[in-house]
């Protein structure tokens, strides 16, 4: 039993073989960095950018994900986490190798257009999302840096972490920034700090409040056109519509596989759960969509999910199915494994991963832009936090039905004012529908607000008093 109250499972010989493959994938991807840039270059970067040292410890996330499971589920989790870690390695590699074409993009502005223009995307919030999964306290020094510069403590800790990285001089300077008014006012405003600190030109996309409907699509496709013209003026990137078509087709293909995975996950018992699902989506639909890697990931994940389905499900004993609403608990990724082991809870879906991205019609530049406009506007979390509250609730209750959820755990991140302001309605709507609801009080990126142990206590109290569950 570890400090996170999760058990390591004694591996079988087959498990050990698959573990080797997962670790091999991770090590070979990390080894590419010193091989390509030279060990001294990497040491210099690790000194200048301390977050790189945290990313290099990605094996800790892999260990947690793999050693707590067995059989095909262990194999698939290992594949998922190591593949995503390798993807991050590729992004970091490009960040250092191509500074002249690097464009920072905000996390809910998927970078297909940048790929279509031959630019190199770097998602500013990636570090604030990934690094705490590896080391829970990662963001705290950056949160403190932002607050000591006058950012109020109540602002969401994810943009504060991103601002802190820039304020401490640890954000590599890009050629330009492409951001938007998503996902919240804090996130939107944080880019004035990034713009001032990095001293690079910045383009801001404006997503309408009412984004469902042709009027919004027309408006936002126009915004994308303006962004392309602006990028052509301020970066070496040039739009190549054939390349853009390839990017969109790869996104569509990955999306198709991902949808098949979700269809399987909807079955009881679930043939896949946990990190591999949300990390895969975050990586290949948000941070680097439209790449061959994403297609490979979801094709493989589909095949593995089918295999687990044939073997009778991912969890040895699935007793409950749960939606984790809001983004996953970054400071406590072990929550998934803990819930599985302690009560047989399969955490199947979260706000970031619930994917309703439409397919992109690649017939012409205009249809691609309109498709991308829908993808951005209807993207995960963007559609929940920017529009009216119906968006938030209708999606959640639809997924509860589709995945036969027994309960909802709301990861009640205190810095997310958008969702905090819906908690009253949320309780009443769940009560009306008879859906048990746990609102976990915590902070997305700061363990000093609520520790992982406290999160666990909240979940235990809920499971044992509301769900009348007994530990496995």
């Amino acid at each position: 039993m570890s400090i996170f109250d999760i058990k390591r499972i004694k591996p079988t010989v087959a498990d050990l073989k698959t573990d080797l493959a997962s670790h091999g994938r991770l090590v070979s991807s990390l080894a590419k960095l010193p091989l390509r840039h030279g060990p001294l270059f990497l040491l210099e970067k690790a000194r200048r950018y301390p977050w790189l040292r945290t990313l290099m410890a990605a094996n800790m996330l892999l260990e947690m994900s793999v050693r707590t499971r067995t059989g095909a589920y262990r194999e698939a989790s290992g594949f998922g986490v190591s593949h995503v870690a390798a993807g991050i390695g590729e992004l970091v590699d490009n960040l250092f190798a191509k500074p002249e074409t690097t464009v920072i993009h905000e996390d809910l502005v998927p970078p297909e257009i940048l790929y279509g223009m031959g630019l190199n995307p770097w998602m500013a919030e990636l570090l604030g999302i990934i690094a705490p999964l590896i080391r829970s306290e990662f963001a705290e020094t950056y949160i403190d840096a932002a607050e000591s510069e006058g950012t109020p403590p109540d602002i969401c800790s994810l943009p504060k972490c991103t601002m802190g990285i820039a304020l401490k001089g640890e954000m590599p300077k890009p050629k330009a920034i492409l951001t938007s008014n998503m996902p919240c006012d804090g996130g939107m405003s944080s880019y004035s700090v990034l713009e001032r600190e990095l001293k690079v030109p910045t383009f801001r996309l404006d997503i309408p409040y009412n984004f469902y409907g042709e009027r919004a699509v027309r408006f936002f496709a126009g915004e994308l056109k303006r962004a392309i013209a602006w990028l052509e003026e301020h970066t070496p990137g040039r739009m190549d519509w054939d390349r853009m078509r390839q990017v969109c087709e790869l996104r569509n293909k990955a999306q198709e596989y991902q949808m098949e995975v979700w269809d399987l996950v909807a079955k009881k018992p679930a043939p896949m759960a946990g990190e591999a699902l949300y990390l895969g989506h975050m990586m290949y639909s948000v941070a680097m969509p439209g790449r061959e890697r994403g297609v490979e990931y979801w094709r493989e994940m589909l095949s593995r999910t089918k295999k687990i389905a044939a073997a009778g499900g991912a969890l040895p004993d699935e007793r409950y199915r749960c939606a984790l609403w809001n983004p996953p608990t970054l400071i406590y990724p072990e929550l998934f494994v803990w819930a599985e082991q302690k009560y047989g809870v399969a955490l199947l879906m979260d706000m970031i991963s619930y994917n309703r991205h439409p397919y992109i019609d690649t017939k012409s530049p205009d249809t691609m832009l309109e498709g991308l406009a829908r993808v951005v506007m209807e993207g995960p979390m963007a559609r929940h936090t920017r529009g009216p509250s119906e968006n938030f609730f209708s999606d959640l209750f639809a997924l509860c039905e589709r995945f036969s959820m027994d309960m909802i755990w709301m990861a009640g991140h205190i810095g997310c004012k958008n969702t905090m302001a819906l908690n009253g309605m949320f309780r009443e709507k769940c009560r009306e529908r008879g859906i048990p609801l746990l609102i976990i009080n915590y902070d997305l990126s700061d363990t000093r607000v609520v520790s992982p142990a406290e999160i666990r206590k909240q979940a235990e109290a809920f499971m044992e008093t509301v769900m009348k569950a007994t530990p496995l």
Binding site: N181, S192, R204, D206, G222, S389, N418, M420, A421, G424
Partner: protein, 379 residues
């Protein structure tokens, strides 16, 4: 520092209730009132014959226990306070609400009020976060939709001519408020910052047609008054979030710092610019006026313009220093305030940053902070 006695209690009474006596009188006369929550809602559209707009405030709110249950206690207290009074029934005589998607807090206020206290008429304007041709066209369409909905629901005329008349009257109101504001630039102004704020609040929370006359009469009296304020220690510019409580400014001024200008969404800068009456397209004029004249940090790409505007306001009002007040939990001001402080200090302008809640509290603490600020300026 003295507060001149020239402002009739008539105005004071108007700001003490969420819906004042002039609103009640107009309602009794058969006019329908529409509450609005944000400066991005163009008031001339709500002030056509048969209806009138009232900016929602929460004077006298003492706590927000009911709204905290729904909105939580990490949401800006402007929205929580308005919601609290709404749940107490203070706005039940209104004929409708019009909201703007201006910030996360206002949007969620709309969601919660629509869920808990739905009125017959509810609308939210989708306000762009940028300026420019496309944004103006979008905003104009938004106003078209609202105009149609108002006409249909209330049976009022929101056609071009009716709107042109409304804009003309609105400009009359803005003109008198500008004239009153200009009096504050005198060496010995005949009204204090708190008193001016009271007039601004009275103007936005009363039926327009009932308030223009009293304001014009007051201006005539003040313009010829010889009872000016000449015992202040420093001239201050107030900048920052929504500040519709004259009491807040009164506390600042009790220390001897005279507030000679207010760059807030409820103050005189820059929202008192007239709406264009040219071009024959009133909705386009209103769309432009909203996007170009309400200088809220929810607008992206405008940080430099906002900073420039504060620097210009300092010059215009001959302010010795700036009090930057931001509403607690306001994300946009919260993030932007620090860079503003840096910009002002780089220009050698003394600045005091204050975080506040909507309802006045900790008066002594506020006085101490302002006194220390004045002393740091050598005043």
């Amino acid at each position: 520092m003295k507060q001149p006695a020239g402002i009739p209690t008539f105005f004071k009474n108007l700001v003490e209730e969420p819906l004042n006596a002039l609103v009640e009188k107009a309602q009794d006369a058969g006019q329908r009132s529409i509450g609005y929550t944000c400066s991005y809602v163009p008031r001339p559209l709500l002030d056509v014959e048969g209806i009138f707009g009232v900016r929602l405030r929460a004077p006298g709110v003492s706590g927000t226990p009911m709204s905290d249950t729904y909105l939580s206690n990490v949401i800006c207290s402007v929205t929580r306070s308005i919601m609290e009074l709404a749940l107490e029934g203070a706005f039940s005589s209104l004929g409708g609400w019009v909201f703007a998607s201006s910030c996360d807090h206002m949007r969620r206020l709309y969601d919660n009020l629509d869920y808990l206290e739905p009125l017959d008429f509810v609308h939210i304007l989708d306000v762009p976060h940028k300026r420019g041709e496309a944004a103006t066209a979008w905003m104009k369409e938004e106003l078209e939709m609202l105009a149609e909905k108002l006409a249909e629901h209330f049976g009022v005329d929101t056609g071009k001519e009716a709107l042109a008349r409304s804009i003309k009257e609105h400009n009359r109101l803005l003109a008198i408020l500008r004239d009153l504001d200009k009096l504050r630039r005198l060496d010995a102004p005949p009204l204090s910052g708190a008193q001016y704020q009271m007039l601004m609040v009275a103007a936005t929370s009363s039926p327009r047609d009932a308030i223009i006359g009293p304001l014009e009469n007051l201006y005539k009296e003040l313009a010829s008054s010889t009872d000016g304020i000449d015992d202040y220690r420093a001239r201050l510019l107030l900048a920052g979030s929504n500040c519709d409580d004259p009491g807040y400014i009164r506390v600042i001024e009790s220390t001897g710092g005279l507030v000679v200008g207010d760059r807030t969404c409820t103050g005189s800068i820059p929202a008192l610019q007239p709406v264009s009456e040219e071009g024959g397209d009133p909705l386009l004029a209103l769309a432009r006026h909203s996007l170009d004249n309400i200088s809220c940090p929810r607008m992206m790409e405008e940080f430099d313009a906002r900073a420039r505007e504060i620097l210009e306001a300092v010059k215009l009002t001959r302010a010795d220093g700036v009090v930057l007040e931001t509403m607690k939990f306001c994300d946009t001001w919260g993030v932007e305030a620090s860079p503003f402080v840096s910009v002002l200090r780089e220009q050698g302008i003394p600045v005091l940053r204050l975080e506040r809640e909507y309802a006045m509290s900790s008066e002594g603490q506020l006085q101490t902070r302002v006194q220390a600020f004045l002393e740091s300026m050598g005043r």
